[in-house]
């Protein structure tokens, strides 16, 4: 047995499984994207079975490119992924540094902080949109109502009352509305995924060289510059991993978007595919190919940006 046989043998099952898993559905999607294929059609029943005789060429792609939500969906996908990435990395870094030193109850704090990651995505969405962000029934509505009550009671004050009576009643923001539903999704996913970033950063922080930091302290470096020049470079690889894994997960967000607004004003590419797939499989497949292309563009971009720190 040569030296390389064993490592290859150990990798084979994983590689083969993933190869089949990638190639079979992807080639079928590719095939469907070039034919006319619908689930229900009384006028053209021959379109209901996939076959080469229904060849449509690039027609499905043209149809998708002209669909009114397509560019909006791409824009929105990028907005959601980008915002979540920025927020989770910043929050994750802050929290990881905060709980790196030992203090009373650190174990409990860690458990509390990591708990959101164990909530199922659909539960997360229902919880946030119905119980926290709802303008009437959620804490959002209750809090705004409370503020209004306080302002109301201040209006009776002799001198200041005049000032407060100029204030309008506050209106709670509805996060199911067209313009705001994307922010609701960003909020709930950030809440869920910050613990992931914290987990990854926390393990790396423990391998940080303390003597380097002490030397910096002696040289008069303040806490911020130590964080900026020692800790952040040390965390380059974990940050790369967090960004990679999260962008992959969040490009295919679905449950949250479905539950928050059923795609009203807030669609991403997977959601658009789902909408097409209720009947027009051809168009859904073409959108799927666009989604694959978008994911690959993001991946190449990320690898260029962070690839170096990934393997060191």
């Amino acid at each position: 047995m040569s030296k390389r046989t064993l490592p290859r043998l150990l990798q084979t099952p994983a590689v083969l499984l993933l190869l089949v898993w990638m190639l079979v559905p992807l080639s079928m999607t590719l095939f469907f994207s070039f034919i006319r294929y619908v689930l229900n059609s009384t006028v053209r029943p021959e379109w209901m079975t996939p076959s080469f005789t229904n060849w449509r060429g690039l027609g499905n792609y043209e149809y998708v490119l002209n669909a009114k939500d397509f560019w909006f969906a791409i824009q929105n996908s990028l907005l959601i992924v980008g915002s979540i990435l920025v927020l989770t990395v910043i929050l994750g870094l802050g929290i990881a540094v905060l709980i790196n030193r030992s203090f009373p109850g650190r174990g409990i704090v860690r458990v509390l902080l990591i708990s959101p990651f164990f909530v199922m995505p659909a539960v997360n969405a229902v919880l946030w949109i119905n119980m926290i962000l709802d303008p009437v029934l959620g804490l959002n509505g209750l809090a705004i109502g409370g503020i209004n009550n306080v302002v109301d009671s201040l209006r009776d004050f002799p001198l200041l009352g005049h000032f407060f009576s100029l204030w309008p009643e506050f209106e709670p923001i509805s996060f199911r509305a067209t313009q705001t539903s994307a922010y609701a999704v960003i909020m709930m996913v950030t809440w869920q995924w910050t613990p992931f970033a914290v987990l990854i950063f926390m393990t790396s922080l423990q391998s940080e060289d303390e003597s380097q930091k002490e030397a910096a302290t002696l040289d008069g470096a303040n806490a911020w510059s130590k964080f900026r020049n020692l800790t952040v470079p040390h965390l380059a690889r974990p940050i790369a991993i967090v960004v990679m894994i999260q962008s992959i997960f969040h490009l295919s967000l679905y449950a949250e978007i479905e539950i928050v607004s059923r795609g009203n004003g807030n669609k991403n590419l997977p959601y658009l595919i789902g909408e097409f797939a209720t009947n027009n499989i051809g168009a859904a497949s073409a959108t799927g190919i666009f989604a694959v292309i978008l994911a690959n563009i993001v991946a190449i971009f990320l690898l260029r940006m962070i690839g170096k720190s990934l393997m060191d």
Partner: protein
């Protein structure tokens, strides 16, 4: 020096307090969900019952009676357990080989594996349905869900294991080799205990 000790004493109170506050904010939605589960529908939406109400188990009884809760719960447990086990069975050997015996192509293989994860699930949704319903006849079975969950998460499992294995010093493995430990012994007695914290769980 006096200022340094002063500021660190302040920090000793300040930063843990901030940490506790952040933790409570993060945990609050979960607490609120559990808390609300003990309220009746009417109490749940009234501000005056925010904290004072008569706790009730009515919702739990209702859930068990009217929604077939235990069947769905069992389904989740079965699928996630077996999917995790399968993914680990395939992923541990692969990650081991890549971390401790990397070849020139290991990096490419890893990136490629992750790229299979970039294929949006929705993009292959219909082909999967078509394939499993019309051709393989395993549509709507536990087996299919297990298979899909396992394959979806396999790249992440391998990546996490790979990064953790990488942090384990090579010397430990080499010491094991010197003592005549077999490859399986290395995995079982050295790696798995050391990387136990990394044993990934399925997000479903």
């Amino acid at each position: 020096m006096a200022t340094v000790t002063h500021s660190s004493r302040l920090g000793n109170i300040l930063w843990p307090t901030v940490a506790w506050m952040v933790a409570i904010v993060f945990f609050f939605p979960i607490f609120w969900m559990v808390f609300t589960s003990f309220k009746t529908n009417a109490d749940a939406v009234k501000p005056e019952f925010l904290f004072s109400f008569t706790p009730t188990l009515e919702n739990y009884a209702n859930m068990a009676k009217n929604y077939d809760y235990w069947r769905f719960a069992t389904n989740s447990v079965i699928t996630s357990t077996f999917a995790t086990l399968f993914a680990l069975a395939v992923g541990v050997p692969a990650a081991y080989a890549m971390a401790f015996d990397p070849s020139a192509r290991t990096k490419d293989v890893l990136v490629w594996m992750l790229s299979t994860k970039m294929l949006p699930a929705a993009a292959v949704l219909y082909p999967m349905t078509f394939l499993t319903k019309n051709m393989l006849g395993i549509f709507d079975t536990h087996f299919l869900v297990i298979l899909v969950l396992c394959l979806i998460n396999l790249p992440i499992v391998i990546w996490m294991l790979f990064t953790y294995f990488k942090e384990i010093p090579k010397e430990i493995i080499e010491a094991g080799k010197m003592d005549g430990v077999s490859t399986w012994g290395e995995i079982k007695d050295i790696l798995i205990p050391l990387a136990w914290g990394a044993s990934p769980r399925q997000p479903c």
